[in-house]
Symmetry: C2
DNA sequence: CTACATCCTCTAGTGGCTAGAGGTGCAAGA
DNA sequence: TCTTGCACCTCTAGCCACTAGAGGATGTAG
């Protein structure tokens, strides 16, 4: 029964110390036992939880979605329809974001390519920003 | 000399009324004249400014970058090297973001495809989140 | 003159942390 | 035993770029 300090938990999970405390404060991570000197003392289960949360955050899931996913994980007999729906919704968001960023990329490339590296009054970067009509992607 | 109210400016520029006031408060948009009753009264130049700002925000430029771009626009004899650098930096950010989102997309697709639509304990969505080793994209 | 939309200022809230102040606990070396 | 020094504690405030709402003034149409 070795006790895991918050610093050690941070090292092992890759989640920063203040962020761990923050997750506890918003109820994402269960409150751990405390040492005699009031210091947090984590179990392996907390580390699994942190890894789960971290991976989900990296995938861009919002804290509320993670909360739902965690309650699902806690009750493995439930239908996984909600988990599926959450992941699908996130996938659609990501696809949309990629599409929109790809359009931005095209516009930025045009701006940068058109820059004559001279003075501002010949600069395509400023010109395109000033006049949206110049821009090839009026959908945004 | 028709006076443009803040509501009219919002309608024409597509920037919301509180956002226009916010831009003024942070010094992005010059303070307009006021009517006798203390209401803002905009000129065409403000509308151009707002259009510029809006377009730049849509392209994801941060407020600080926009501040720089605006001072460049005000002095057309300057070299446009800074504008070029800002746009290039933004382009690199966007490209990086697209790459990372594309990796996420692949992982999410795998999760969703692997979901057997049964119970949570057979659910790939939860499983992948819980164990990063399951995930094909260990670079994140 | 009365509705009623629009405007004004000001404060506080959003998400997901991050930074810092001011103080306590704990392990190792002198 | 004492001290050094790091890691821990709580609490508050700050970050970005807005957004929401309170509470009141102004402007316009009928």
């Amino acid at each position: 029964m070795k006790k895991i300090t918050i610093g050690e938990a941070a090292r092992q999970s890759g989640v920063k110390v203040p962020t761990i405390r923050y997750y506890e404060s918003i109820g994402l991570l269960a409150e751990p036992e405390r040492s005699e000197g009031n210091q947090r003392s984590y179990e392996q289960s907390h580390l699994h939880r942190l890894a789960f949360i971290r991976h989900a955050r990296e995938l861009g899931f919002e804290v509320d979605a993670i909360r739902t996913l965690l309650t699902l994980q806690d009750d493995p007999h439930q239908s996984c329809a909600s988990a599926d729906a959450i992941a699908k919704a996130r996938l659609i968001e990501v696809e949309q974001r990629i599409r929109s960023l790809t359009a931005l990329k095209a516009e930025l490339e045009m701006m940068v390519k058109g820059c004559g590296h001279g003075r501002v009054d010949q600069c395509r970067v400023i010109e395109v920003l000033a006049d949206h009509g110049e821009c090839m992607h009026p959908q945004h």
